[in-house]
C-alpha cells in the first residue's frame, strides 16, 4: 500500500438506541434520511469531496445492512486501487472476538490498518451526523496551527450546551480546557466529535491509553483530557454550517423537515458538493390526477394518488387515494392505503398502512409518532 497524507477512520458502530424500532435491525449510520440517503452518506460524501480517498469504516452493531450498502465504496467514488473504503468489523484472532469497547479502543484495535498507509494525519469521524464539511480546510487549519490535534467545534444554543463536550479556548483557538457534559457550562462551543491527529501523536496516546486499566477508552473522556494534561497543542476548529446529530425520533424528523425549508443551509441540490448514495433503479415518481403535492421532497419509485404536504417520501412509497400525509417522513417502500390520515409521524421502511388508518399527534403534544406494527395491529385487533 502506498503512503497516504491523511486517512479517515469513520466510527459507524452506533446503536442509536433512542431511535427506537428504527435501529432494531440497523446501525444508526444506516438509518434512512432525506428521501434517498442513509445518514452515513453525508460523512462518506464529505470524505470524497474533501479529496480523502482512504477511509476505514468501523462497524459493530448490526453491521450487515451497512456492510452490503458500503460494498467496495463505488457509490462514493471510493473504490480505489490504493486505499478506498475498507469495512473494519470487530474480528477474531484464534477464537475470541475483540469487541470494540470505546471510540479510542476501536481505533486502537485497527492500528495495523493505519500502519499500512503510514499517514501523516488521521481524521476521526462519526457516521451519526448530518452535515457538509470540507475536511481539507480543517486539515489546512491543523497544519497552519502546528497542532498535535484539532477538534472541530460548533456554537450550540446555551440551554443545550450541557448535553455536549464543551471547549474553552484562548484567542488563538488553542484549547485550554475541555469539559464533558458540564452541568454549568461557561461556554457554548461544543465538540462535533471530529478530530484530526498527527499520526505519531495519535499512536502514542492510543498505546498509552490501552495500557491504562482505568480508562474507558473514549476520545472525549480519556484521550483529549490526557493530552491537555500533558500540554499538547490542541486547537478548536470553529464550524458554522448546518450540523445535526439525529439521535432521537424527534431530531430525525426535524432534520428531514429542515430540507423543506428554503432558508436551510443543507442544500442537496449543490452540484459542487454532491451527497452520493447507492442509486437503486426505480421508475420516475408518478403523481396522479387526484393527487396534490405541496412543499415536499419525493424520490423516484413513488406513486402518489393522495395529498402530500410538507413531507419527505423515500423511494418506492405508494400513497393511496383520498389519503392525506402531512409533516411526515415515509421511509422506503412503505405502502400507505386509501383514506389514511397521517400527521407528524415517521413510517418505517416497508411498512404497510391499512386503508382508513388515522394517526396524528395531539395538539398540545410536541412529540413525533414513530409508527409501529403494534399500533397498526392494535387498531385492527
Amino acid at each position: 500500500m502506498g503512503k497516504k497524507k491523511c486517512v479517515a477512520m469513520l466510527l459507524a458502530g452506533g446503536k442509536g438506541s433512542r431511535l427506537s424500532s428504527l435501529t432494531k435491525s440497523l446501525a444508526k449510520p444506516a438509518v434512512p434520511f432525506g428521501g434517498k440517503y442513509r445518514i452515513i452518506d453525508f460523512t462518506l460524501s464529505n470524505c470524497t469531496n474533501s479529496g480523502i480517498d482512504t477511509v476505514g469504516v468501523l462497524t459493530q452493531y448490526q453491521p450487515l445492512v451497512l456492510n452490503s450498502y458500503i460494498g467496495i465504496g463505488s457509490a462514493w467514488d471510493l473504490d480505489r486501487k490504493n486505499g478506498g473504503v475498507t469495512v473494519l468489523p470487530p474480528y477474531s484472532e484464534s477464537s475470541e472476538v475483540k469487541w470494540y469497547t470505546g471510540t479510542a479502543s476501536a481505533i486502537y484495535q485497527n492500528l495495523n490498518y493505519l500502519k499500512q498507509y503510514d499517514p501523516e494525519y488521521v481524521l476521526i469521524l462519526s457516521g451519526d451526523h448530518i452535515y457538509k464539511m470540507n475536511y481539507e480546510l480543517m486539515l489546512k487549519y491543523h497544519i497552519e496551527k502546528g497542532a498535535d490535534a484539532t477538534i472541530s467545534v460548533i456554537e450550540v444554543p446555551w440551554p443545550e450546551a450541557s448535553r455536549f463536550g464543551i471547549m474553552y479556548t484562548d484567542e488563538e483557538m488553542r484549547v485550554a480546557e475541555f469539559e464533558e457534559k458540564p452541568s454549568n457550562p461557561k461556554n457554548n462551543l461544543a465538540s462535533m466529535g471530529i478530530y484530526i491527529f498527527n499520526w505519531s501523536v495519535l499512536k502514542e496516546y492510543l498505546e498509552m491509553d490501552d495500557r491504562n486499566p482505568e480508562s474507558s477508552h473514549d476520545f472525549g473522556k480519556d484521550i483529549i483530557p490526557l493530552m491537555l494534561d500533558e500540554n499538547k497543542k490542541l486547537f478548536a476548529y470553529p464550524f458554522n454550517g448546518y450540523w445535526k446529530d439525529v439521535g432521537t425520533v424527534k431530531s430525525l424528523w426535524e432534520a428531514n423537515m429542515d430540507l423543506l425549508d428554503d432558508e436551510c443551509e443543507l442544500n442537496l441540490f449543490d452540484h459542487d458538493w454532491r451527497i452520493y448514495s447507492v442509486n437503486p433503479n426505480h421508475h420516475p415518481q408518478y403523481i396522479s390526477t387526484q393527487a396534490e403535492v405541496v412543499e415536499s421532497l419525493i424520490n423516484e419509485g413513488c406513486r402518489v394518488e393522495g395529498e402530500v404536504e410538507k413531507s419527505v417520501l423515500f423511494q418506492g412509497v405508494l400513497v393511496g387515494k383520498n389519503t392525506v400525509i402531512r409533516e411526515s417522513v415515509i421511509m422506503p417502500d412503505a405502502v400507505i392505503g386509501e383514506n389514511v390520515y397521517i400527521e407528524k409521524a415517521i413510517v418505517p421502511s416497508g411498512m404497510t398502512i391499512p386503508d382508513g388508518f388515522v394517526i396524528s399527534a395531539s395538539e398540545e403534544d410536541d412529540e413525533i409518532i414513530l409508527i409501529t406494527e403494534e399500533m397498526i395491529q392494535g387498531i385492527y385487533s
Partner: protein
Amino acid sequence: MAAGQLNGGNVMKKRMLGVIDATTYHEDLEELTVHRSLAAVPFAGRYRLIDFVLSNMVNSDIESVAIFPKYQYRSLMDHLGSGKNWDLNRKRDGLFFFPSPLLDSPSKGIGSFNHFAANLDYFYRSKQEYALISNCFTVFNMDFRPVLDRHIMTGCDITVVRQDGRSLEMYLVKTSLLISLIENRNETGYTCMSDVVTDIHHSYTICNYEYTGLAVMIDSIENYFAASIGLLEPEAWKNIFLRSQPIYTKVKDEPPTRYVKGASAKNSMIANGCMIEGTVENSIISRGVKIGRGSVVKNCIIMQKSQIGENCVLDSVILDKDVKVESDARIEGRSEMPQVILKGTVQGAMMNS
C-alpha cells in the same frame, strides 16, 4: 452419469443471444435524432429507447447482448457504458458493441446481414443455441422466454413477434440458422430478417407469436409524443413498469425532487433532481429540470436539465435537453403535433409572444 466432466447440464444455462439492431433512422424523428441515435432518444423521464428491449432481454435471462449501432452512437455508448446498470458487465458474455464500419445509407429492415457479417466472430464464438433479433425503438415490457418455449415446441425455423398481425420486427431463430443466413446473403439475396420472413420462395417454416401487452414502435414525433403522454394512463403505466421485470437505465446521483410552496403537480411523471416551483400537469419531466414560480407546464415532455423561468406557459411542447426558456415565455404546440425545441437552445420571452 459421468461426473468428472465439466460441460453439459442445462438446468440453469441461458440459451438465447440478444441482438439489437440500432442502425435505424426515422426521418420523421429528425428533430430528436440530430445529435443521437434513435436508440438513445430519451423517453419517460429517465430512460432511453434502447432501455426497454435491453431490459426485457436481461429479464428474460439473456446474458449476452450484441448491439449494432451506426450513426451518432457516442451518446448511446456513454449511456450503456460497461453495461453495469443492466448487469451485463460480465467476464464471459455480457454486452458487445459493434459499430458499423460502413457509412452507406441505412438498410431498410431490422437485422442487417451485411452489418452482422462484419462481426461474424461474435456469432461463431457464442454458445447460446438461439438468437433473438430485435429493433431498438419499441417501448414495451415483455418476457421473451415464452417465445422461446413456443419456438422450441412448434419446431419452426423463424418465429416473428407480432401484435394484431403486424410484425414488431423481432425474430427468434437458431443461432446456426442466423449464421447461415448471414454467410449466404450474397447467394440468397436476403439483406435482413424481414426479407426472409416476407419471401415465400424458401423452405423455412415461419411462425408467429402474438404479443398482447402494450408495445409502441416509436417512428415519428407524433407517436413519440402520444406514447409518452399515454404512459400517464394507469393501464399503460402498469403494463410498462413491473416490479418483477424492471426497466433498467443509467443511474445518476440526483437528490429527490423538491416541490416548494406554491408548486402543484398533477397527472405527471417526474424524475429526480427537479425543482418544481410552478404548476405541472399531464407532463413528463426528466432529471434535473427546473420549473420557475408562476410557470404552467401542460401536456409537455421536458428533457434533462432544461430550465424554465418564471411565469412561462408551455403547452404541447417537447423541450429537448439543456433548453433554457426565459421568464414570461409562451410556447404552445398542438396536441396532435407538439412543438419541438432543439437541444441546448435558448427561448426568449419575445420569440413566441
